[in-house]
Symmetry: C2
Subunit: 357 residues, 2 copies
DNA sequence: ATTCGTAACGAAAACGTTTTCGTGTTGACA
DNA sequence: TGTCAACACGAAAACGTTTTCGTTACGAAT
């Protein structure tokens, strides 16, 4: 159980100075070939690796990026992490994750833990509670401390930073238009409460599609689920709600749901009530997760390309980190700010499966 | 865009020494009440936070633990991470994740990246390729460097460390006995190749249950899937294989699958072939993921309690880290080693749903 | 013989902490 | 008046690097 070897120990062992060892290992031609050889051989023998922490301290950067997401047991967020990790690793960065668990306080605590020098920048998706409170001071605070942030998916205008989003509006639009084009006349929307921006945008896409199709939106056909209770085990409640919804609106012949779970639950309930899918009722969901793929019938869905979002977010962050390195962005004119931060939109894709005609 | 403030800057600003500032902030009674007040006020005003990196360097520990898993887009592994993060955070640790992507090389690279001082210990699950090569030198190497490892789920005898596993054998046993008790006479097994230990153990449980039930195992009823191709989009291949399997063995009235995906795919194929579930064929899977819960019919399954595994693994690792802190474990007698490392078994639980009678 | 250049190396600072060990200034007490 | 403890604070080392700036010695050039 020998501790890791350091430059100092090599220096003492070989009776040279620390600087000589450092230079020899980095292949500096300042050191004679003889000593370089000797030192490198010794270092390899003892499997010397420079201490990252010491390097971080010296270079004032850690080469790791912090991710904070509301929940990790969630297909979409996992794919985003996979994307982040992929490009981060490729570009020499590590990834450290914190879970806000949809809680405002935990989000702050996590950010403070990491902002204390552990990371060079953040990639994060805002927790529901934070969106509800509309309190974004902690984001702006860390940005002002010179730590860049990239927001993804659940973003907000009040924070000035790079963002990666999905075209929720257009995705929903495409989905509902698809339903219309296959003959649906009474399309229901199953959505969440409005404070999560993505839910709001998808609702807007739904409405817009109806309007384009010269159909008056019927508020009875919109079911808003209080997703504070989608935590665990509230499946029965969800099913009951949807079942009642169907019973109250017998004319429904199409369903657009803002997430996978609502969509497959709707299918399950519909089948239970004797409807055939897609003959009697067609269903489209959002998020191309494992549920959509393996549901029966398999679910037509709007794919968000989570991995691509992660990749893009990581690229944006690292680009900015390495741009700051040259120190050109010390000071930004107020009127340049608008162009300074990018918002990248990842296109959605309608993946047609067996729940639509 | 002001950089983070340091002790040195506070010291200069208030015209005292760095040591005074440090002591004042830690509330040392060595400093007069006046100066303490003044310094603390100033620090709060400028939102001073000690630099984690500097602390890590000084204390020679980082208070972060490294996780390396084969894949993050996977319900089981996400729940484990959630468990790890939960107790890690509670005990003041951060969590940094690396993805091996089932690759031997990426596993090593990731470990080397993190072992360079970035973390205090590892929690990991071995990649398939590593298991196939049976090359575990990198694990033993890092352990010998004094960095503790906790292995979970996919473990291996050749590595001497704490382990957290699931009672795969007993879980499979329970599942198959359940099938027997509900009248199944010809129970099929859908499993993976043998080199992944968990698959092997579950197979053994299956065999044992049959033997206990005085039934001769029929090798025709065992389908081994080459899971090098379960990556993506090989659903059709999987379905075809299972379909052929069913057609070759018409007498099958029960299926035990070593994971969720195989189980729901088996259900889908069975239904397609005209069988009623659970009337004609009963199905049980392993891993209680989102698929099992929402499949139609919902899948009876052996729950692994991933979150609990993660919690336990984190506790084991941190316990060891903080035990080493007191320096009592400098040297371990060879014959004490057996008792020195624990292997914790997390009990499985059979969750009965609608795919069984 | 003096100067100069260069090759080969070492000393020291810096990154931001904590902590040990001084050190100077009081006030009290003999 | 001299001694000593207590008080309040500062200097410096240490963690492990990299890098800048010496410094030495030696051969060549003038």
């Amino acid at each position: 159980m020998k501790r890791k070897i350091t430059l100092k120990q090599i220096a003492k062992e070989l009776d040279v100075s620390i600087s000589t060892v450092s230079k020899a290992l980095s292949g500096s031609k300042e050191i004679s070939e003889d000593t370089t050889q000797k030192i490198q051989a010794f270092a390899k023998l003892y499997n010397y690796r420079p201490n990252n922490i010491a390097l971080s301290l010296k270079n004032r950067k850690t080469k790791t990026i912090g991710i904070i997401i509301p929940e990790i047991v969630h297909h979409f967020f996992s794919t985003v992490i996979r994307g982040i990790e992929l490009v981060a690793n490729k570009r020499g960065y590590n990834v450290i994750v914190g879970l806000s668990n949809e809680s405002f306080t935990k989000e702050i605590i996590n950010m403070e833990m990491l902002a204390g020098g552990s990371i060079d920048g953040f990639i994060l998706s805002i927790s529901k509670e934070t969106l509800l409170k509309q309190d974004y001071h902690h984001f702006n605070a860390t940005i002002n401390q010179g730590m860049p942030i990239v927001l993804f998916d659940r973003v907000v205008n009040e924070v000035d930073c790079d963002k990666v989003i999905v075209d929720d509006f257009k995705g929903a639009l495409k989905a509902v238009k698809k339903l219309l084009s296959t003959g649906c006349k009474n399309i229901a929307l199953i959505t969440t409460m409005d404070y999560v921006s993505v839910g709001r945008l998808r609702t807007q896409g739904y409405l817009e599609a109806l309007q384009d199709g010269k159909i008056n939106a019927d508020t009875n056909l919109i079911l808003k689920i209080d997703d504070s209770l989608d935590v665990e085990g509230h499946l029965e409640v969800l099913e009951k709600e949807i079942e009642q919804f169907f019973k109250n609106n017998k004319k429904i012949d199409g369903v657009f749901a803002v997430n996978e779970l609502y969509a497959v639950t709707a299918m399950k309930v519909a089948r239970k009530l004797g409807f055939k899918i897609p003959d009697d009722i067609q269903v489209i969901g959002f998020t191309d997760g494992v549920l959509s793929k393996h549901a029966t019938p398999s679910l037509t869905t709007v794919s968000q390309h989570g991995q691509k979002m992660g990749e893009k977010a990581a690229d944006l962050l690292i680009d900015r980190l390495e741009l700051e390195e040259v120190g050109s962005s010390e000071y930004i004119e107020e009127n340049e700010r608008d162009e300074f931060f990018k918002t990248v939109v990842i296109e959605t894709e309608l993946i047609e499966r067996d729940s639509t005609k």
